[in-house]
Amino acid sequence: MELLNNLALGFGVAFTLQNLLYAFFGAMLGTLIGVLPGLGPVATIAMLLPSIYALDATPALIMLAGIYYGAQYGGSTTAILINVPGESSSVVTAIDGYQMARKGRAGAALAAAGLGSFFAGCVGTIIIAAFAPPLTELAFKFGPAEYFSLMVLGLIGAVVLASGSLIKAISMILLGLLLGQINTDVISGVPRYSFDIPELTDGIGFVAIAMGVFGFGEIISNLSRPAEHREVFTKDVKGLWPTFADFKQAFPAVLRGTALGSLLGVLPGGGALLAAFAAYTVEKKTPAKPGEVPFGQGNIRGVAGPESANNAGAQTSFIPMLTLGIPPNAVMALMVGAMTIKGIQPGPQVMTSNPQLFWGLIASMWVGNLMLIILNLPLIGMWIKLLTVPYRFLFPAIIVFCSIGLYTLNNSPFDVYIGALFGLVGYLFWKLGCEPAPLLLGFILGPMMEENLRRALLLSRGDWTTFVTRPLSAGLLAAAALMVVVVMLPSIKKKREEAFQEE
C-alpha cells in the first residue's frame, strides 16, 4: 500500500525528537493564543515567521501548523468557560458550551470538544494522506491558463463563503493583488511602484502587512472599545469524563461534524469557521431524542458537532495549500509564505521534491492532535489562570514581539515602518467594515497570478479566449462565476446574511 508507505515515512519524520518538540511547542503556543482573546493564529504565525529563518523547513512548518490547530482547541476552552470565543471558529461552541458550564457540566463539555476534535483530527489526517496524491497528479496537467483560472476560483471562493459584503470583499482582493504589484517585474526586470526606494524593489514583505493589519491594527481597534469584564467559570471543572449517555448522544454529532468539516475545509475560503457554523445548523435540524436538553440550553451535540467540524476543516484546508500551492485562507497564505522563506516553491511538486517535509507535516498533525488532548484536558486549570491576565499587559507584549520580528526580517528599520503604516491601514479597514483577510490572499497570490496570466497570453498569442476554450480552465472559471451568481440570488443572499447574523 502506497498510502501506508507514505504515512510510515511521515511518522518516521514526525517522531524524531526535534520534530516532536516543535510540534509540541506549536500546539502549546497555539492553545495559548487560542485561549487569549484578541490574539489570533494569523498574527501569531506572522510574529513567528522571522524566527523560522533559523530552523529547517520541516520543523518550522510543523510548528506553524501546530499553532493553527492548537488555536482551535484553545478557542473552544474559552468559549465554554467564559462565553468568549478565543477564535472566530468557536463562536457557535459558546452557545451550548457555556450553558453546559453554567449547569456545572463544564468538564463534560470540554471533554466532548476535546475528544470530538481528536477524532476529527485523525480522520482529517487520513483524508489528506489519501487525497493529496491524486490531486497532485491532476495539478501536473495544469498549464498557466488553468493555474490562473484556479486562482480566480480560489479567490472568489474565499470571499463568497466569508461574511460581509461580497463586492467589498472582491475589492479587497483586488487591493491585495495591486499591493503585490509593488515589486520588480519578473519578466522585464522593471521595478514597479518603488518610488526609487531600494527596499520597495523587492516588494513589501507580507510579514509586515500581516503583522500590521492583523497584529497592530487589531490592537488599535481593541483599545478603541471599552474594556469588557469577563466572568470566569472556574469553580466547577470537575468530573471531566462525560457519562455514557453523553457519549451516545455526542458520537453521531461527532461523525456528522467530521464529515461536514472535512468536506468544507477543502473548499476555497472554507476552513474551520464555516465548518463550525454549518455543523451547528445541521445538529439543530437533526431531530432530538426524547429527554435531550434543547439547543441553546446546553446540548452536548451543540458542542461536539461544531468542534469536530472546525478541527476537521482546519486539517483538510491544508489540502489545496499542499497540493496546489493555493492558500484557502489567511493562515494558509502565511504557510505558503513560510515555505517561500525556506526556499520551497509551493505547488504540486512539493510532494515529490520534498517528500520528507510533505508526509512529515501530515503525520505531525496527528501527533500534534494527540498531544493536544493529553495536554489540554489535565492542564485546563492552567489555561484558565491565563485568562485572568489583563489586556494592558498583553498588548504591549504583542507589540514588542511583532516589532522585534519586523526588525530582524532584514535587520533594518524599514519593515518596522511598513508594519506601523499597515497598522494604521488595518484600523482604517476596521472602521470602514472592510475585511482584511481577502487582501492578504490577494497579496500572496498576486505575483503568481500575473505570471500565469502573462504566460498564458504569450502561449495563446494574446488570445483571451484561451481561458474559456481549454476545458479545465473553462470549468474552473464557470465554477467561480456560478458561486458569485448563486450568492447573489435573493433567497440565498438572505439566508447568508441570516447565517452570519448569529455571530
Binding site: K168, S171, L178, I220, R392, I399, V400, Y417, A420, G423
Partner: protein, 155 residues
C-alpha cells in the same frame, strides 16, 4: 443626495482612488505591451481599472440603498492609533542607535499609554519582563543579531 451608508461610501471612494492611482501609475511609467506580449503595466493597469469600477459600484450602492442606522464610521480613536503607530515607528528608528536595552522599555511604556488603564508600576514591570524575555529568546536563544547596547558605547 444623502449618503445612506457612511462606511460603504468612504470604502468605495478609497477603492476608486487607489485603483486610479495604480492604473495611472502603470500607464504613465511602464510599458503596457500588447495582449500577445504583455508588458509590466498590463496586469496592474487592468487590476486598477477593475478596482476603480468596483469602488464606483460600492459608492453608488452607499448612496442609493437604505440602511437601518446609516452605518456611521464613528469617532476615530486617535490616541491608540497615534500612540501605537508612532511608538512602533520610533522603535524602528531608534533601535540601531540606542540598542534594545533602551528602546524596548520605551516601546512598552509608550505603547501602554495608548490603553485606558495605564499604571506606571504595571508598565514598568511589564517593560522589565519583556526586555529580559526578548533578550533571552531572540539574542540568547535564536541568536539573532539585534543591537543590545547603544552604539555610542562602542560595544
Amino acid at each position: 443626495m444623502k449618503i445612506k451608508s457612511q462606511r460603504d461610501f468612504w470604502s468605495g471612494l478609497m477603492f476608486i482612488v487607489v485603483g486610479i492611482a495604480f492604473a495611472w501609475g502603470a500607464a504613465a511609467n511602464y510599458n503596457f505591451g500588447s495582449s500577445a506580449r504583455p508588458g509590466p503595466a498590463y496586469f496592474p493597469f487592468g487590476l486598477g481599472v477593475l478596482l476603480a469600477i468596483l469602488g464606483a459600484f460600492v459608492t453608488l450602492k452607499a448612496l442609493t440603498i437604505e440602511t437601518e442606522d446609516g452605518e456611521p464610521v464613528g469617532a476615530w480613536a486617535w490616541r491608540p492609533l497615534l500612540w501605537i503607530c508612532l511608538s512602533i515607528a520610533a522603535f524602528g528608528f531608534l533601535l540601531p542607535k540606542l540598542g534594545m536595552i533602551i528602546t524596548l522599555p520605551l516601546l512598552v511604556v509608550v505603547s501602554a499609554m495608548a490603553g485606558d488603564e495605564f499604571h506606571w508600576k504595571d508598565a514598568a514591570l511589564n517593560a522589565v519582563i519583556l526586555t529580559v524575555g526578548s533578550w533571552a529568546i531572540f539574542i540568547l536563544g535564536l541568536k539573532l543579531t539585534i543591537p543590545l547596547w547603544p552604539s555610542f558605547l562602542g560595544a
